[in-house]
Symmetry: C2
Subunit: 303 residues, 2 copies
């Protein structure tokens, strides 16, 4: 039997998955990371997690088809990570460092792109030829896949959906320095801000889902926030649609744990905002949830 490891590198956990050659997930686990020494320790740390598993399972280097990794930031063709500022990873090649520990093919891709690949091949994008994946977490990221091909952009800046300008009148700057970015309204932080810090995204979506448990005044207040969120996200999606007209939008990230209640408003607004030929574009919530990243990292060995 041959194996593929799919790794998802994040700021608090590194997620691991061991897959067979047909991309069936055999086992998954995660290890907490100490971000203060993240950069210098990352390669042996990631490799260690795999080596322990290989030892336990009696897997040899030659049994491994490859190790795929997803990581924040821009991964250039020479496997170097750039600008993963939150993790203090810049100008570092984890791939090259890891090749000293395990003799197999090791590849790396941006984490949002990995999650998109996971959804496209194994999640709720799998019945569609083309997909725009939006991840609503601390920020808003994403990935575009058309006919099995990841669209990365000439400077690796494609699918920066969080920085589509969706508000002309915004006076507060986004973390990127621009004004009116999608991320300012549809990330977890953005949604909280829409509510003036009064509600978490989870509270908002729960109240909308179970209106019978809320007083009408509270419900109206939350409904207004929900409507604003829905409008902004639908506007972003209608713009993406006018550019690439994907067959499906898949929404992932922590905020998507709300489930289909998140989609109801977005779908209704999208029908109003999208160009006529694209109004029936499908919307889905992530099917793989937190596992999208490890699936997608493994799928880098799909050939």
């Amino acid at each position: 039997m041959k194996y593929i490891y799919g790794i998802d590198i994040g700021g608090t956990f590194i997620k691991y998955g061991r897959f067979d050659e047909n991309f069936n997930l055999l086992e998954k686990w995660e290890l907490p990371v100490d971000s203060s020494k993240f950069a210098e320790r990352l390669a042996p740390f990631v490799a260690g997690g795999i080596l322990v598993d290989m030892e336990k399972q009696g897997i040899k280097d030659e049994d491994i088809i490859g190790i795929g990794m997803g990581c924040p930031g821009t991964i250039t063709a020479d496997t170097v990570i750039h600008g993963a500022d939150n993790l203090k990873l810049n100008n570092i090649s984890v791939v090259k460092a890891m090749e000293r520990f395990i003799k197999t093919e090791i590849v790396m891709e941006n984490d949002a792109n990995c999650a998109a690949l996971g959804e496209y091949y194994f999640g709720n994008g799998k019945e569609f030829d083309s997909m725009a994946f939006l991840t609503l977490g601390t920020g808003v990221g994403g990935g575009v896949i058309i006919d099995g091909k990841l669209i990365k952009g000439y400077s690796n800046a494609a699918a920066e959906f969080g920085h589509i300008k969706v508000d002309d009148n915004e006076t507060k700057a986004c973390t990127c320095g621009l004004y009116g970015c999608l991320e300012q309204y549809c990330s977890a932080t953005g949604i909280s801000k829409l509510s003036g810090g009064e509600f978490t995204p989870k509270e908002i979506f729960t109240i909308i889902k179970y209106p019978e448990f809320s007083e009408s005044e509270l419900y109206s207040k939350v409904k207004e926030i929900y409507d604003r969120f829905s409008y902004k996200l639908a506007k972003g999606c209608s713009i993406i649609s006018a550019v690439i007209n994907p067959a499906v939008f898949v929404i992932g990230g922590g905020v998507s744990n709300a489930g289909d209640v998140l989609l109801d408003g977005v779908k209704a607004e999208f029908k109003k905002l999208a160009y006529s030929g694209a109004k029936d574009t499908e919307f889905k919530i992530s099917g793989l949830k937190n596992d999208a990243g490890i699936y997608g990292a493994a799928s880098l060995f799909k050939r």
Copy 2:
């Protein structure tokens, strides 16, 4: 010698080009069309223009590699034209009708996509792997090509750049029924409207190009219109960039005859509006001008 015909079907003229097998344009001509009987006469009309040329040149059916055609509207995989409302072409297959007259392979693609292919292979997109082509004419259309592949969208509605929402506060509807579409500001009609009907796009760009010939009051007035146009087009491009991050924007269509003066304002605004990793995206004016369509139609036989 083998030949390819590239045809560009428009509302007032049908443009023809005869190319050799290496896509060198050997001869081009155009024929005026009578749009009142456009639909029923189109196939014999288009074929006639080719047959006359074949007769003159002594070209036989078997000397022809193929005939490529660009046409407004949506061309589905069965070669049927849908929704080319201006030309009253709907639910008609010109390809199938023409196959009765000339025995060769005949293919058809949307005209904006053809113009994009022309620029990508033979015009100002040819040094770049990925390109967004915007055509500023009566409306605003376009095409996206990434690694030689045309992005058409699941319902053939990709690259509908004219209907990207770039203004939240617009109260007048676009021809498509939406509000604040790029087309409402950056098409030839849109630019005139920006000036309250006072100036044509040509007048605006000429005054900006030669400020020394205008009184300062007139210049200021026109500069304001030019700045609004530049901002809207740059905003549209920054949004396209956040989705696909193309290496170059090529601007074609009648409005682009203004030349590089059109780009100066757009490039400056784009630097302010684009996401950090994409600020140095290149901008070019169409290199093939009115011939982009016939080149692109011929390029459908590039394999």
